[in-house]
């Protein structure tokens, strides 16, 4: 398993070339539209648009499903639970003792499931199609976030990737010292706790060393230049526009269908 989060395997020829800021803008627009209302029509429109865009973005559905299957399971479970427990309005669809499903409760369940997936996908699209270094450049140059914050985050991301490797090494090192994953439940819990503590100690020491190395290269001054320019192109207008269009389409469709329930009203 690769723990290198700074050089992830990226897919998506089109979105890869877009500026991360425009991708973020599109994702935020879609997210806001979905958050505004819990109804199955707006959620279905968003999800359908997202799925329809995938081939265009160069993301394969099979590959995506393999990576996000836990999310799919969560969405199904959430939908089922909501359908079971939501307010029972409309005609009865199934009545088996405690298992009572009505049109109203099933619609709510479907809305929750679709909405969950619709909310998750834009973020996943960004992760799959964005180089973290480009993201940092865009956040600092286009959104003018403080460079210490942005680069600190980028460096931290690298260390997070190393944690997986360090956890495994620590496990082996402790096994060699005579403390491992055998024994009673209590002993195992204690071992896990000790290993977690060891990981924290190592992570802090590693971060301190990296901070020293960064400082030794002049990091932390007031002004800074950027070797890479973060630029906008026509593609970014398209990406942002499509995001807005999906959001507006979802709201309009839900209002026309009469399912829109604005949460803040």
């Amino acid at each position: 398993m690769s723990g290198d989060y700074l050089t992830p395997v990226l897919t998506g020829r089109t979105l890869l070339r877009a500026n991360p800021v425009s991708k973020l803008f599109a994702a935020v627009a879609i997210t806001l539209a979905l958050l505004a209302s819990i109804d199955w029509v707006s959620a279905a429109v968003v999800l359908a648009c997202e799925l329809a865009l995938m081939p265009l973005l160069g993301i394969s559905i099979g590959g995506l499903a393999r990576r996000i299957w836990p999310l799919l399971v969560a969405a199904v479970v959430g939908a089922y639970g909501t359908a079971l427990l939501a307010e029972k309005t409309g005609a009865v669809l199934l009545d088996a003792g405690p298992f009572l499903f009505t049109e109203g409760s099933v619609a709510a369940g479907v809305a929750v499931g679709l909405r969950g997936l619709g909310l998750a996908l834009p973020g996943i699209f960004i992760l799959l199609t964005t180089d973290p270094t480009d993201l940092a450049d865009a956040l600092a140059q286009k959104l003018h976030l403080p460079h210490r914050f942005v680069l600190g985050g980028l460096a931290a991301l690298r260390l997070v990737g190393l944690l997986v490797e360090q956890w495994e090494t620590l496990g082996l090192a402790r096994h060699a010292r005579g403390i491992g994953s055998d024994g009673s439940v209590l002993a195992r819990a204690r071992n896990l706790l000790g290993q977690s503590f060891g990981l924290i100690v190592q992570a802090i020491r590693r971060a301190t060393r990296l901070a020293t190395a960064m400082e030794a290269r002049g990091f932390g001054g007031a002004s800074r230049t950027w070797a890479r320019t973060s630029t906008f192109s026509g593609l970014d207008a398209v990406v942002a526009g499509v995001g807005l269009l999906i959001a507006a389409g979802a709201v309009t469709a839900a209002r026309l269908a009469g399912t829109w329930n604005f949460l803040l009203s």
């Binding site: 050089t7 990296l210 960064m214 002049g218 070797a227």
Partner: protein
């Protein structure tokens, strides 16, 4: 805004300079009076704890504010305090793994220049030249994780060069590298200095690597001030200085550290572990790092495992040590080693393993589990259910840890940590001892102690397996050598 033209080599001046880290009673460096001419190339020596790293950090401007410690006297680069001369000094640290900041080679080199607010076109010009200087002929988008240790150190050097520093500071830059990596880095440094004329201060235990390329050697006194100062010929040529350097743990050329015992002879006795067609991999389904290993680990035999960085040496010994599941073939423990446990070391419980095979990891801190040296030594025997205070005491005595029993393992010096990590493994008297790069970054004293101890262990019938690049270490332990490269191992008997 344009960057100021690079102002040339730095003049270093220290007057009664000292630094005490916050929370420490003793000064890390003190009473330092020093003048380095611009362009001078200086090798800085001294015993462990003499303050070499502190001096380098001071020169790099990394010893900052009052809450980090207390400064006395003055340390000046061209008349200005180092903190006010950001970018004038560039520091390369020891560990190649912890210095990489970014994902791509070009960005990594550009990072320092960006921090100094160098204009964009100028940054890329500097990146190209710095990579040229250190001889890294790689595409700018080459992933930094795919580099060898020597390449990473040259990348760190290139990154520092992009600041166009007038003072180059190197803190044991080659201590963690294989022999080819050492020369790669040393030669790159010389090339850079020849072109830029920058002042150089390098700290390194292994004097021979640098003695020919510096024009001045300064030896710090652990008690403060300077012990010796002059050309390499004078400082390293005077018998009393040589003796003092040697007793301070410096590797003096032509004066090998005094090791006790003799080179163990013969291939060893009875078989403890045997590998047949053994294939090793870091993870269960991962790539096979080394395949088809056939070898016997014998009681009272030494086996050195060599090969380039990344060849799979560590994976091989972790598998031989029962820590990783064999990917192919078989590893079996003879009854003499296994005793009441089964013949497959990977299936042994931790408490069984610790009494049979001791594995000393490259990074001692990974194996520290308690808050005191005493508890560390008692830990293994307690896990094994065989507490033996007499043996723990003897091990502590043997590795000169008796005066540190109450100390926290994490606060020990590098050499002390290494000694403790070996001692914790010996406390349960395993028949097989495995060590991963035991001599990396160690001074000559610790090195000699380690070799003496391992010779005694071999004489006592322990099988000692070491992953090492250190030719002197291999010669001192004798036995067989397993050379691993290109996914295969070749056994070389002596």
């Amino acid at each position: 805004m344009t960057a100021a033209p690079s102002p040339g080599p730095v003049h270093v001046r220290a007057r009664g300079w000292g630094w005490r880290h916050a929370g420490r009673r003793a000064f890390a460096a003190r009473h330092l009076d020093l003048d380095l001419r611009p362009g001078e190339r200086v090798l800085l020596l001294g015993a462990s704890g003499a303050g070499k790293s502190t001096v380098l950090h001071g020169l790099a401007g990394l010893l900052g504010s009052h809450d980090e410690g207390e400064q006395e006297g003055a340390l000046l680069l061209d008349g200005a305090p180092p903190a006010a001369a950001r970018g004038r000094a560039g520091l390369v640290l020891q560990d190649p793994e912890t210095q990489v900041v970014l994902a791509r080679v070009g960005d990594e080199v550009a990072f320092a220049a960006e921090n100094l607010a160098v204009p964009r076109e100028e940054i890329w010009r500097r990146v190209g030249r710095a990579l040229d200087d250190v001889g890294l002929d790689l595409p700018l988008d080459h992933p930094t994780t795919a580099l060898s240790g020597g390449q990473k150190q040259r990348l760190a050097l290139a990154s520092v060069l992009a600041m166009e520093p007038g003072l180059l500071l190197l803190d044991e830059p080659t201590a963690n590298l294989d022999p080819e990596g050492v020369l790669e880095v040393r030669d790159a440094v010389v090339r850079v200095l020849d072109r830029t004329g920058a002042t150089l201060v390098v700290v390194e235990h292994r004097v021979a690597v640098w003695a020919d390329v510096v024009d001045r050697v300064i030896v710090l006194d652990a008690a403060g001030g300077i012990l010796a100062d002059g050309t390499p010929g004078t400082v390293l040529g005077q018998e009393d200085t040589r003796a003092r350097l040697a007793s301070a743990g410096v590797w003096v050329p032509g004066r090998p550290p005094a090791v006790g015992g003799t080179v163990p002879s013969g291939p060893g006795g009875g078989t403890l572990l045997s590998a047949e067609g053994l294939g090793v991999a870091r993870t269960r389904r991962g790539r096979v790092a080394v395949g088809d290993l056939d070898l016997q680990v014998r009681s009272g035999g030494a086996l050195s495992i060599t090969g380039p960085n990344g060849a799979g040496k560590s994976t091989a010994v972790l598998t031989l040590g029962g820590l990783l599941r064999p990917r192919a073939g078989r590893l079996s423990a003879a009854p003499a080693l296994a005793g009441t446990a089964g013949s497959d070391p990977f299936r042994w419980r931790s408490a069984q393993l610790v009494q049979r095979i001791g594995t000393v990891f490259q990074e001692p801190e990974h194996q520290f589990l308690t808050a005191s040296v005493e508890d560390e030594l008692a830990f293994g025997p307690r896990q094994a259910g065989a507490v033996d205070p007499a043996r723990s005491g003897a091990v502590a005595e043997r590795l000169r840890l008796t005066h540190l029993l109450k100390a926290n393992p994490f606060t020990l010096s590098g050499g002390e940590k290494r000694r403790l990590s070996v001692a914790t493994m010996l406390a349960t008297a395993p028949r097989v001892l495995i060590l991963d790069e035991p001599t990396f970054g160690q001074d000559a004293l610790t090195w000699a102690e380690l070799v003496t101890l391992l010779r005694e262990l071999v004489d006592d019938g322990v099988a000692v397996l070491s992953v090492t690049h250190d030719a002197e270490f291999i010669a001192a332990l004798g036995g067989a050598t397993l050379h691993i490269s290109g996914g295969a191992g070749r056994l070389v008997a002596r």
